[in-house]
């Protein structure tokens, strides 16, 4: 039986390795006596391509020991999307405005349904972390649009 995760994973790595080798040639590889900036990336890329090909062949022949299906992908995908959205709005909106939404949505993905629990946890946690990190520990968090109101 073919091992799908190994095939997909190794294909991705092979492409990445080839990309690295092309990039390394662009940087000039040089010779062992006169190594150029591309020398080491070329070696790393070659290692990745050669070893990933072994994984690819083993996966194709179904020889690898571990066999894992793709599994449930919906909730992790939702969390990734939420995190990406958070990154996009963090600086414009500011931490204090963006984080309660993030926390509430993450808890909702994890199966918390009570609106009161979502509201209380997200507000307490975001204000709490803001006070702890920004005020107490001196880590500046983005203020965002709240600065317009002089906060």
């Amino acid at each position: 039986m073919k091992n799908l995760t190994d095939i997909l994973g190794s294909l991705f790595l092979i492409l990445l390795g080839i990309g690295a080798i092309i990039g390394a040639i662009g940087l000039r590889v040089g010779t062992p006596t006169e190594p150029q900036p591309g020398f080491f990336p070329f070696l790393s890329g070659a290692i990745i391509v050669i070893l990933s090909s072994i994984i690819f062949v083993q996966g194709w022949l179904g020889r690898s020991k571990r066999r894992i299906g793709l599994g449930e992908i919906k909730r992790p995908a939702m969390l990734i999307a939420v995190l990406a959205a958070f990154v996009a709005v963090l600086e414009p909106l500011g931490y204090v405005l963006a984080s309660p939404f993030l926390i509430a949505v993450v808890l909702r993905i994890m199966g918390i349904k009570s609106w009161r629990a979502l509201l209380v946890t997200s507000l307490v946690l975001s204000i709490g972390t803001y006070l702890l990190f920004d005020w107490l520990l001196g880590i500046t968090l983005p203020a965002g649009i709240l600065t317009r109101f002089g906060l």
């Binding site: 995760t5 997909l8 994973g9 790595l13 990445l16 390795g17 690295a20 990039g23 940087l27 062992p32 006596t33 006169e34 190594p35 150029q36 900036p37 591309g38 080491f40 990336p41 790393s44 890329g45 290692i47 990745i48 070893l51 072994i54 994984i55 083993q58 690898s64 020991k65 571990r66 894992i68 599994g71 449930e72 992908i73 909730r75 992790p76 969390l79 990734i80 995190l83 990406a84 958070f86 990154v87 963090l90 600086e91 984080s99 993030l102 926390i103 993450v106 808890l107 993905i109 994890m110 199966g111 918390i112 946890t121 946690l125 972390t129 990190f133 880590i139 500046t140 968090l141 983005p142």
Partner: protein
């Protein structure tokens, strides 16, 4: 009497009130994350790194080290009471620990874990303070070819000793080397693989990568299968093992401690592997191996002693050779670099107060942990009632804040999310994350020593085989990589020869 003067000096530093507070803080945080499944020592140390920027370096390392060995104490609690390992180094403790709990002997199991850890920790710290200075002065003779071979061996060991497939581990090592080349070339100063992004000229930030690989990806994986926790309800009447228990397992504690110490010293070795090896050894030397897996106290005592000894002794390659052997030590390597301290053979000479202060704090920290774990066990068990979703959301929030705080930019937060997704797919595919982070950190040093060696030898690769130390290190590395192939051939021969 140098040794005693140094250690005395170390104690005067470690007993400074602030350092005591940070050692206690490390011990408490370490126990907590050890008890809680789903957050391991590498992720925790990465999460707390940004907080140490403004701290005194000695206090910072004292705290981070405390988290590492503290987690070894806490990890057994969850294994014994829940049959879920609190962290990876306590996986084998589940086998006999949980069985003991079911037989109503949770108390002695927890007791022997804590006391075994304490004895192992003490032995290992003593070994560390004795071995490290000697090893460091020996390593001073190392030139670029020796360093190249040593780092290569360290990376190979990390791959070999991880439980996953060796090929996958090596690919991750290669990927780490490649990711380590992003930014300004350490030898010639050319800009590599930044894709025109000025934020990448310094390369990827290790803190950001580690938080993604160990923190975010862990949460993503746990989202797939909501974990069911079933705390084994038992009266924890007596925690102290009986005399009979001690008679059965004192030798296991000593064997576990020594084995753990030696495995931790190996470049690439660490707490996780030491617990597996020591369990296997105990089973083999035992007079009644059939009791293993059915609640044998030796099966708890040995791995719990070994993992604590190894977590302490894995500081040796870091502090003497500048080579981190596992992911947590790699984060402490980064912490040292952030404070402008170069881990390597000169560290003990240049920063004696840091070295001896941290060593002395380990004695104190282990004593604190014994006090924290035995009488307060009820408190830690109650911590397990904190629902996972709450822990996960706290981890996500702290990861986001931590990544932002590195350079005050949302770009790093995005990078961390990308590495979190990468780590998630790596875990699903059975690709181990530790070789990636290790080779990413060691890559630039490896590249520099490779180029310096090649330039000095006029491009002759044979330089690595002509220098005796380098040749010895490389042959060990080659041997490690070839053993699985030999094993397979041998098995095949055995199969064809048998009728």
């Amino acid at each position: 009497m140098d040794f005693l003067t140094n250690l005395g000096n170390g104690f005067s530093i470690a007993l400074n009130p602030w350092n005591l507070i940070f050692a206690a803080l490390g011990a408490v945080i370490g126990t907590a994350i050890g008890v809680l499944p789903g957050l391991g020592p590498p992720a925790t140390v990465a999460l707390l790194l940004p907080l140490t920027y403004k701290m005194d370096p000695t206090a910072a390392i004292i705290m981070l080290a405390g988290i590492f060995y503290g987690a070894m104490y806490g990890g057994s609690t969850t294994s014994i009471l829940l049959n879920i390992p609190g962290e990876a180094a306590s996986v084998v403790t589940c086998l006999d620990g949980y069985k003991m709990a079911r037989q109503g002997r949770a108390g002695p199991a927890l007791g022997i874990s804590a006391m075994g850890s304490f004895i192992a920790g003490t032995i290992s710290i003593f070994g560390l303070s004795l071995v490290a200075p000697t090893l460091a002065s020996f390593a001073l003779k190392f030139g670029p070819p020796e360093y190249f071979s040593l780092i290569l061996l360290g990376l190979m060991m990390a791959v070999y000793l991880s439980e996953e497939s060796i090929v996958k581990g090596l690919v991750m090592g290669g990927l780490g080397l490649l990711l380590g080349t992003v930014g300004i070339d350490p030898v010639l100063g050319a800009t590599r693989f930044t894709f025109g992004l000025s934020r990448l000229t310094d390369g990827f930030d290790f803190v950001v990568v580690a938080m993604g690989l160990f923190g975010i990806s862990e949460v993503l994986i746990n989202l797939e299968a909501p974990e069911v926790r079933d705390i084994f309800k038992t009266a924890l009447k007596r925690l102290l093992p009986t005399l009979e228990d001690w008679r059965r397992c004192w030798a296991s504690v000593v064997r576990g401690s020594l084995l753990g110490f030696f495995i931790g010293v190996l470049p690439g070795g660490g707490a996780i592997i030491s617990s597996f090896v020591s369990y296997a050894v105990e089973k083999r030397v035992s007079k009644h191996p059939e009791q293993f897996g059915k609640g044998a106290i030796e099966g708890v005592a040995a791995p719990e002693s070994a993992n604590n000894a190894a977590s302490t002794s894995s500081f040796i390659p870091l502090l003497t050779l500048g080579i981190p052997g596992n992911a947590t030590i790699a984060m402490i390597f980064v912490a040292l670099m952030i404070h402008g301290i170069r881990p390597g053979p000169l560290l003990i000479q240049e920063h004696p107060n840091l070295f001896w202060g941290v060593v002395a704090s380990m004695y104190i920290g282990n004593l604190m942990l014994l006090g924290l774990n035995l009488p307060l066990i009820g408190f830690w068990v109650r911590l397990l009632r904190v629902p996972y979703h709450f822990l996960a959301v706290v981890v996500v929030t702290i990861c986001l804040i931590g990544a932002y705080s590195v350079k005050n930019s949302a770009f790093d937060v995005g990078m961390m999310v990308i590495f979190g997704v990468l780590g998630y797919f790596m875990r699903k595919g059975g690709f181990p994350p530790a070789p990636l982070i290790l080779s990413m950190i060691l890559g630039p040093i490896l590249e520099r020593s490779l180029q310096q060696s090649l330039i000095s030898s006029g491009g002759e690769v044979s330089i690595f085989f002509e220098k005796p130390i380098s040749a010895a290190l490389l042959s060990v590395a080659a041997f490690l990589m070839l053993t699985p192939i030999f094993k397979r051939l041998w098995k095949r021969n055995a199969l064809t020869n048998s009728p």
